[in-house]
Amino acid sequence: MASGTNLSESLNPATSSEAVKRAELSEIDASTKIPALFFLCSALGWILIGTIFALIASFKMHTPGFLGDAEWLTFGRVRTAHLNAVIYGWASNASFLVIIWLMARLSRSLLRHPILLLTAGVFWNVGVTIGIYGILTGDSTSIEWLEIPPYATPLLFVAYALMGVWAVIMFRFGKSPHIYVSQWYILAALFWFPWIYSVAQIMTIWAPARGTVQALVNWWFAHNVLGLWFTPIGLASVYYFLPKVLGKPIHSYYLSVLGFWSLAIFYNWAGVHHLVGGPVPAWVQTAGIAASIMMLIPVVVTGINHHMTMIGSFNALRYSPTLRFIVFGAVNYTLVSVIGSFMSLRGWAEITHFTQHTIAHAHHGLYAFFTMVMFGAIYYILPRLLLKEWPSAALISVHFWATAVGSLIMVLVLTVGGFHQGLLLNTPKLANTLGLQPGTDPVPFLEVVRVMNKYLVSRSLSGILIFVGHLAFAVNVVWMLLKPRSAEVTAPTLFRNPPEMEVVTR
């Protein structure tokens, strides 16, 4: 870090190393503009489509006759379309955007071979589009998280391979002598995802493994999509934007290292907890549960690292949209992971496995953590790509509150609802003790369905709230793209004007 006491700098500000760095960064940002905007627009389109699918699926759960005559919108298909649109459409495109921008900045290198990235982006989005069309028309493979029919997956694989090649080139020609922690996560994620994706494709679809080994492959993959792809990208963003916005170093390099390697070692064993009680060996389930317990290590370590960085700067949350989204995501990362460790335990899973509890957890991780971090990142990146300010602070505020409140309501309602559902479905004894059902019999299934209705309706309402947030976001982005660049020196769009927020340079 250039300190203000540098003699030559004080004599001649023009040669200030900080100023040269800024000039360099601006060139780097400019070089990422076209591919980054491409991925941003794709991600934005997919999150709107994915949310609409989600709302349809959610209404169907409490009003089964809703759009009941449209075969292509039957629950089993529209739910799948929702999952794939948000995972492979929104979340992956947003990840690519963040990867491109962060890799270029952290390698301190102008973006090379943008054509490689654009080709990858076209392949990826065409692949996802064909895949979702295939799902809606009845070609789903019915393997969770791998539903995209086999004729579309090679496109995704090619896209990913191009992206990986690009990242290696960028890294190879990078000027930075030091690999910053965000880069560890990004490089590892870019290396892991194509690997687990191709192994999972081969072992479930092209040359299926024997019997329930397929289920093991399935959950090894599906859990790792979160663990080895989205979590690293999310954490890379937190590790970058938290110190960046605050202008402070990350608390401890040692904690970063411990957090990274314990995540790499334990996360990929944890997927088996989706099969607790199922037809897979008891010892593998045990290993999966043990790994889920071990996940407390990276989570707590990373949490401490972020918290210690944040400490003393909580006031900044009142001004900076980026920081608010990122901190919301980081806090939820800790929460969702700790809850996840407990959910894997056999006693807990006996009740909550096969219920809405799992759905709550999935949205907690992918929405309240990952998606919110991506929003935060986009609020920081876009002004630097377009050299314009966000047009409306009010819309950012609507976006934040609608998505934050919406996602928390959804998670809360489904966590409680899933627990209720599990008690009624699985443990007549416990349900009796709590006075939910007299006698020693399981509650009739249709009674469970009836009880769940109120939770499912509340979930739909929270979904509508989230959709409103997404609309506010979309309007803001489109407005920003279309509005002319100001010739004046502009001030950042913040929630409220800080005393000296973000204007401070050093």
């Binding site: 870090m1 200030s16 060139e27 608390h251 037809p279 897979v280 043990a290 401490i304 502009t490 204007v503």
Partner: protein, 220 residues
């Protein structure tokens, strides 16, 4: 820490000989940015080391306790290969309780309340068929019933599957449990049915097509 005017920075960047227009565009947005992030080197707190060791210890104990002999065919984590699987003592069966469990199958059509579905599936509650002759109701269970049947004054026209030979293949015991349950639940007043009685009728009729109501009405 000073708080310089951002415009001052702007000028400095321009003075740096940056003729490229894109650099000149770097007004406040870039200038106001904080420096690129880097790591601090605060030492790891001691309790983190303790925490990590404790978690690893717990994980290891969990694996050792629930390893189930690392046997791929063991699905119960409590299984221990050294513990010879000795058969538990035979349990005395309560026909009503067993029948109630088996009734899950019947409840799909006759509903958990035994009320049936009006016009589709006949009720069991107060039904003259259920509470009446043992010989008839056992035959219905064993071989099924098809075609129009009058129950409590309403006519139903549907098919009930066979639970005996050629159908579900239930044992005499299972059939006696379910019938005893159905005949004594919801205020029904039929007498219990023994497995022996079921065996007797099974032997007499064997495997055949589902009964029609008239055929059964001929039997007392």
């Amino acid at each position: 820490m000073k708080t310089p005017d951002p415009r001052e920075h702007n000028t400095r960047i321009e003075q740096a000989g940056a003729s490229d227009e894109s650099i000149q565009d770097v007004h406040a947005i870039l200038a106001r940015e904080k420096p690129e992030p880097h790591e601090g080197y605060s030492p790891m707190p001691l309790f983190v080391l303790g925490f990590v060791s404790a978690i690893i210890f717990i994980g290891a104990i969990y694996i050792v306790r629930h390893r189930a002999g690392f046997d791929p065919l063991a699905y119960d984590e409590r299984y221990d290969p050294s513990m010879a699987a000795t058969n538990a003592a035979p349990v005395k069966v309560d026909p009503i309780a067993e029948g109630k469990k088996l009734f899950m199958t019947c409840a799909a059509c006759h509903q958990p309340t035994g009320q049936g579905v009006p016009g589709v599936f006949p009720p069991l509650v107060k039904s003259e068929w259920v509470n009446g002759s043992e010989d008839r109701v056992i035959r219905i269970l064993l071989n099924g019933l098809s075609g129009p049947v009058k129950v409590e004054g309403n006519t139903y026209n549907n098919a009930m599957p066979a639970f005996g030979p050629g159908g579900y293949g239930w044992s005499d015991e299972k059939i006696s449990y379910i019938l005893t349950y159905v005949r004594q639940e919801w205020g029904n007043t039929g007498a219990p049915i023994t497995p022996e009685k079921v065996a007797e009728i099974r032997k007499a009729v064997g495997q055949r097509k589902p009964w029609a109501a008239e055929e059964l009405e001929a039997i007392k």
